[in-house]
Symmetry: C2
């Protein structure tokens, strides 16, 4: 039976384009707005706690981040935050939603090279409309065989996606910057996971690497991905 990889799935945020850096910049602005009320580290701790608490109701994405910032501003000021500051938080979030995307180095070349020989997918979480906007802006949309915007990235979700758009998880490879979302669950589903670290990773995405796992790989950036896939396929029956 042919076991070669036929399907390559890419994460989007911080794999193909910058994302976390805009969250960090907004958090800096958030801290400056509340500097009179609370010390920066303490504020970020409270914000992270709110994001964790709200993840199950808001899911991933900028709108939930905005709501968690507002909730945190009310909480840390014991309801004394002026409405004008809340207005500034909303404006900061709306700027994130309008920010032009910045493709990461080698992203276009890697997708292009692989799209010639493989079924190339995009698998991302976050707000539906915002992810669609970023994909449209990226100019990469036409290269993807399918785009899946999902509310969570777990082994069951990858299994479903790789069956629907590919030849099952065993013949699929996922690449992304988050070990927790892009690497561990596709490996658990039976596929390959390639980690391309990004300098900045959201605290809620941290996980330990599955060092020594035969289907786990790390690359410093996307430029080496086509060669890695080719090498893997040379060694598969």
């Amino acid at each position: 039976m042919d076991r070669r990889i036929t399907t390559i799935a890419f994460d989007a945020d911080d794999t193909l384009w910058q994302n976390e850096t805009f969250y960090r910049l907004t958090q800096e602005r958030f801290a400056a707005l509340l500097a009179r009320h609370v010390e920066k580290d303490r504020l970020h701790e409270r914000l992270l706690a709110a994001e964790r608490r709200n993840l199950g109701r808001y899911g991933f994405g900028i709108k939930g981040f905005m709501l968690s910032m507002i909730e945190t501003a009310i909480e840390v000021t014991e309801e004394r935050v002026p409405a004008g500051v809340i207005g500034e938080i909303i404006a900061a979030g709306q700027e994130m939603l309008a920010h032009p995307i910045e493709l990461l180095d080698h992203a276009r070349e890697a997708v292009e090279a692989l799209a010639a020989d493989y079924r190339v997918l995009l698998v991302t979480k976050g707000d539906l409309l915002d992810q669609e906007r970023k994909l449209a802006q990226s100019g990469l949309g036409d290269m993807f065989h399918a785009v899946e915007i999902v509310s969570d990235k777990n082994a069951r979700v990858y299994d479903r996606i790789f069956r629907r758009h590919g030849d099952g998880p065993e013949r699929a490879l996922m690449v992304g910057n988050s070990l927790k979302s892009d690497v561990l669950p596709p490996i658990e589903a039976g596929g390959f996971g390639v980690h391309v670290p990004h300098g900045l990773t959201w605290a809620l995405e941290h996980a330990d690497p599955p060092d020594g796992h035969p289907r786990f790989f790390t690359l410093p950036d996307l430029s080496g991905l086509p060669a890695l896939v080719e090498r893997l396929n040379e060694n598969l029956p």
Copy 2:
């Protein structure tokens, strides 16, 4: 060539389960919170303007509604709204996100009856996670051949969905409560559109019925849908 209908797509909110009624209740609560600052009709007018203005950045769903309420509260009070009131608005939105769904009359029976003979789809917009939660709660999930949560419902989107999961728009029928989102665009795509009015419809979903169009139908509730589809198919080659 066989032209009989093979694919039946359902809208979710206010077609299978209650939705707008919870928005209206929250708007009442919103008006009560701001009663000291602004008269109710004027507030609803400002809120609708904010929702319209923000639709392109937030898309559909409760999170965007929460953010538009907060923005409106700041605007109508000229930045004097107390933080405690903003906290109440967030709490009201979170209650909407946690509210158990209420199936509409005949919804289960109609989906069940049609799922036996047709490919049955769910096509809905709104926040990804919230729609998934409602579908899971509805107990109807297993009856759908596919579920599409989309950021917008236009003719192009319906065309893509009916090609992907069915035999193209010409052999598909969409049913829902919104003429603008559930009826006009599938008809424009070449399919059938069935309007099942709900007592409450969001102002931004209003549209005129395509009276006299040969592929447009109206039903008072979902109980008549299986018979309508059967009748249509008897008259198609």
